[in-house]
């Protein structure tokens, strides 16, 4: 494997036009630890894909690579037929610069496990600041959109509240509204209910179901909520040790898993009451 700073093949993988996201021989290492091992998969526009698997299997790393929160070790990620982790130079590809990444990641939004709302801003500002400053949306329009989105997540009356005045579930719903305000084509959901008290999980999942039903946003979702995965996803990828152990439609993965690793993982998840 050549180190990925040297130019690599700049040909877009053959799936161009059909795939929105392509992971092409992606390797991610943290020091000696290989988290993603020669990973290949693609996601079609509008597709909702759930990533499941034991912790440490690399699911979250996939989302973090797509959000440019981690740097790829080897291989190339493509988004919309264009290189994403890299950029074209001459005939080859070189590692993407900060400016290039910023341009490319415009179309991607992310919701985090710990919500990560900005505590120095009201709920309204959390949702409007990025559209106003990054997209150049006029303030009035951003405010109106914030109100709409908060109504969508059932928090219309909390628009002037402070994040610390909200429950975890409410904060996460605001975080979903904040991500949607940037009008992403791709939404990354990183264990968005894992930090919530059990009684608050349903509210957040209902909002996401609504988003899934009413928009054509492509979703990549890391979750332990198997019921939710079954309901909203078109495809489930089962990860183990940095590789895809099994993939298929939710009915097949949950109803008739082929791989032993999938079976034992699903058993352990169900035993833990998820």
């Amino acid at each position: 494997m050549p180190p990925s700073d040297t130019p690599v093949n700049a040909e877009s993988p053959g799936v161009e036009g059909q795939s929105l996201i392509v992971f092409d021989d992606v390797v991610k290492r943290f020091g000696d630890l290989t988290v993603l091992d020669d990973l290949n998969f693609s996601v079609a526009p509008g597709e909702r894909v759930t990533l499941i698997g034991p912790s440490g299997s690399g699911k979250t790393t996939i989302l973090r690579l797509l959000m440019t929160l981690e740097k790829i070790t080897e291989g190339v990620i493509w988004v919309g037929g264009e290189p994403f982790s890299h950029m074209r130079r001459g005939q080859g590809l070189v590692r993407a610069s900060e400016g290039y990444m910023r341009e490319r990641r415009k179309r991607i939004g992310m919701v985090f496990q710990q919500f990560n709302l900005f505590p120095n801003m009201s709920v309204r500002q959390n949702i409007t600041e990025a559209p106003v400053h990054v997209l150049g949306t006029p303030k009035d329009e951003a405010n109106a959109r914030a109100k709409e989105l908060l109504d969508l997540v059932g928090l219309g009356e909390k628009i002037d509240a402070h994040p610390t005045q909200l429950s975890g579930g409410q904060q996460q719903r605001v975080a979903i509204a904040r991500a949607l305000a940037m009008q992403p084509e791709i939404l990354l959901l990183d264990e968005v209910t894992s930090a919530l008290d059990p009684e608050l999980v349903a509210g957040v999942l209902d909002v996401l179901r609504e988003v899934a039903e009413t928009t054509d946003i492509t979703m990549l979702c890391v979750t332990h909520e198997m019921g939710f995965a079954r309901d909203v996803s078109h495809r489930v990828l089962m990860f183990d040790q940095g590789q895809i152990a099994e993939e298929g439609p939710p009915e097949q993965i949950f109803g008739d898993p082929k791989e032993d690793r999938t079976k034992s993982f699903l058993r352990s998840v169900l035993d833990n009451g998820f």
């Binding site: 959000m67 440019t68 929160l69 910023r102 990641r105 415009k106 991607i108 939004g109 992310m110 985090f112 710990q114 990560n116 709302l117 900005f118 505590p119 120095n120 801003m121 600041e129 990025a130 400053h133 990054v134 402070h162 994040p163 610390t164 005045q165 904040r178 991500a179 940037m182």
Partner: protein
């Protein structure tokens, strides 16, 4: 007491100089602290190196020596003489700014990484992230230490009489020499320094409260006389056993 009251206008003049030095020094120190503190958090090595050099140089030089240098050595070297007030403010600002830069740097670094990641997910630029998210959160962290530095700076102004600036200490010193009333002359200075410090502390507390409120935190309230008066005195509920 009459001694002090008669000479109050002189003390007030001195105190006014001390206040000007304090505010001038603080303003300069604040700007330097922000600029070099933020530079110290930038990933590129050059701004970081510049920040380190500034901090290490000016933290390591005694403010008094710096002041002497500005007032006496610089004119010899350059033939250009700084106004004494200005030299004093420059020396104090440069010195305290170096401490402040470290406070700014560490406060920015203490903003949770997850907050920065959220700004990446919203595609904010470095500048937008710093202005909208990082600095407002780091600000609350900076203020308690800034409060100490403000008081330190105010007290450090007491050496400016050595380069001929007529501050509060200089007034007390002159008073002692001209009247021989050593004890009373300095009691006047004590009181005024203490009052200035109290006003500064109060101002910084207000800023801290406001910053914490903006972050949705309720700041721990210091015991005020009012709250002590309102609390039930021990034993006042007697007779109900």
């Amino acid at each position: 007491m009459d001694f002090l009251i008669q000479r109050l206008p002189l003390y007030i003049d001195g105190a006014w100089i001390t206040i000007q030095l304090t505010f001038g020094g603080c303003a300069l120190a604040f700007v330097l602290a922000m600029v070099f503190g933020i530079m110290g958090t930038i990933r590129h090595w050059l701004p970081r190196a510049i920040s380190t050099v500034y901090v290490e140089v000016f933290r390591g030089i005694a403010a008094l020596v710096l002041m002497f240098w500005m007032a006496f050595a610089l004119p010899q070297l350059s033939g250009f003489r700084l106004d004494d007030m200005f030299a004093a403010i420059l020396a104090l600002g440069l010195n305290v700014g170096a401490y402040g830069a470290e406070v700014v740097r560490s406060s920015i670094n203490a903003v949770p990484k997850a907050q920065v990641e959220a700004t990446v997910a919203l595609n904010l630029s470095w500048f937008q992230r710093t202005r909208l998210v990082v600095l407002p959160q780091a600000w609350a962290q900076m203020l308690p230490t800034f409060g100490n530095l403000v008081i330190e700076l105010m007290k450090a102004t007491a050496v400016v009489y050595l380069i001929g600036v007529a501050d509060l200490t200089a007034v007390a010193q002159n008073m002692r020499e001209s009247t021989g009333e050593t004890v009373v002359a300095f009691i006047g200075a004590f009181i005024l320094y203490y009052l200035i410090a109290q006003v500064l502390i109060f101002g910084m507390r207000m800023l801290e409260r406001r910053a914490n409120r903006k972050l949705g935190r309720t700041p721990p309230r210091g015991k005020s006389l009012k709250s002590l008066a309102q609390s039930t005195p021990v034993g006042s509920a007697g007779g109900t056993f």
